[in-house]
């Protein structure tokens, strides 16, 4: 209890000076090895079919906002980021997972949001406090889908 409060206070103080945290109450801890996160966040493999939906759903992943993907039934693919066709031939599963979780770990200036981070933000809207854009299951589903793009 006391420890909890102490931790909470630390997070608030740290957040106000702009530090980032890899994990807290809402997200599970993960370990970065080289340029990737080798272990699944859920301990299981994701569902590629569900992940395809995460990729185009505007309320969840909305990858299409910035990336071109082989999802022909959806109109208007963005061109802010690279075309993700063949992404699984360019990167390993671990590398893809880290880029979805927090691509700023690779490139601190990127426009790409960290999809699995829940603290360290500036002027966060109240309804998002303590939340990450995607849940661990959605990240794993998305990673499974991206791994099909050979």
């Amino acid at each position: 209890m006391k420890m909890h409060r102490l931790l909470g206070a630390t997070v608030i103080i740290a957040a106000s000076v702009g530090m980032t945290f890899a994990a807290s109450a809402e997200t599970v801890a993960y370990k970065i090895v080289d340029d990737g996160i080798p272990k699944s966040l859920t301990g299981k493999s994701g569902d590629a079919k569900a992940g395809r939906k995460v990729a185009y759903n505007r309320k969840t992943g909305n990858c299409l906002a910035c990336h071109k993907l082989p999802i022909p039934e959806q109109q208007f693919h963005g061109e802010v980021g690279p075309d993700l066709k063949g992404v699984a031939s360019r990167y390993s599963e671990a590398e893809i997972r880290l880029r979805v979780v927090d691509s700023k770990k690779m490139n601190s200036d990127t426009i790409m949001p960290a999809f699995y981070r829940d603290s360290g933000f500036t002027r966060l809207q109240k309804k998002w406090v303590g939340k990450s854009i995607l849940k661990a299951q959605e990240v794993e589903d998305l990673v499974a889908y991206l791994m099909t793009l050979k």
Binding site: V80, R117, T122, R123, L124
Partner: protein, 266 residues
């Protein structure tokens, strides 16, 4: 007599339009050389056409309302804008290019909306208009419309310097759950498609702007709020110091662009 007046007015309009066009073209060319582009250049032909034709540009409804309000006496002093400033075409010609401006009496920056309201409370002894009210939007649009075609030129040195720096810091500060700064879209990715929309440079030379999505004219601060909410960040209030400083920085980014008020955007 009437016909002659009409003809004269028409000839005048055509001449002015011709001059304006020449000006706009040369402005755009020089701006292009510097890489500064108005949102107009990212708009579709249809939207551009809507803006270009005063008769079809819906923003002119607000210009017209502003013109009516200009001569309307209000407040305990019984004065109208016109009583002190006369013809807005002369007295307001430069207002649209130079705001926000540093004001000694308040020790900070002031934008056109705030200048209008200060005139109302201090000189007219009238109530300040609410932000984003039809009246304040109309008067701001009318005043800024007097500068249409003139290059944006705000002072960012001297006493304005610290406020300019704050605006610049705001522009480059990541915010919200999407953790993006203005610059990630409007500097690094201007011209790229984000889903179905082309990202512009985020220039404000056309504000207050008639936005098709809004179905009405709106201020740059309303647009800032929309952008902030889109990245899931808490927006600031319209007229806040934060947004006035940002407005100064963004106006400076578009220095040299012609004022287009009321521009039409999607």
């Amino acid at each position: 007599m009437k016909i002659r007046q009409l003809l004269l007015a028409l000839t005048g309009t055509i001449a002015v339009a011709g001059l304006g066009l020449g000006f706009v073209v040369s402005q755009t060319t020089s701006a292009k050389a510097e890489g500064i582009r108005s949102g107009y250049t990212y708009a579709t032909k249809e939207t551009q056409g809507l803006q270009d034709d005063e008769m079809s540009n819906p923003g002119y409804l607000w210009v017209d309302t502003g013109e009516d309000l200009w001569s309307k006496a209000e407040g305990d002093a019984g004065k109208s804008c016109n009583d002190c400033h006369g013809d807005a075409a002369d007295s307001m010609k430069k207002a649209g290019v130079s705001y926000p401006k540093y004001k000694d009496d308040i020790g900070k920056m002031q934008n056109i909306e705030q200048r209008i309201n200060q005139c109302r409370t201090d000189n007219m002894k009238a109530k300040a208009w609410k932000w984003e009210s039809n009246q304040l939007l109309s008067m701001t649009t009318y005043v800024r419309n007097q500068s249409t075609g003139m290059p944006v030129s705000v002072a960012v040195d001297g006493p304005a310097k610290p406020f300019f720096e704050k605006g610049k810091a705001f522009f480059n500060q990541r915010r919200g759950l999407l953790d993006m700064a203005c610059k990630h879209c409007h500097e690094d990715n201007a011209g790229n498609l984000i889903r179905a929309n082309v990202l512009s440079q985020g220039q404000i030379n056309g504000f207050p702007v008639y936005r098709l999505k809004w179905g009405k004219v709106g201020s740059s601060h309303r647009r800032f709020r929309g952008c902030n909410k889109q990245v899931r960040a808490k927006p600031f209030k319209n007229g806040s110091d934060e947004y006035v400083n940002l407005e100064l920085y963004v106006a400076w980014r578009g220095r040299g662009l012609p004022v287009e008020t009321p521009a039409v955007r999607n």
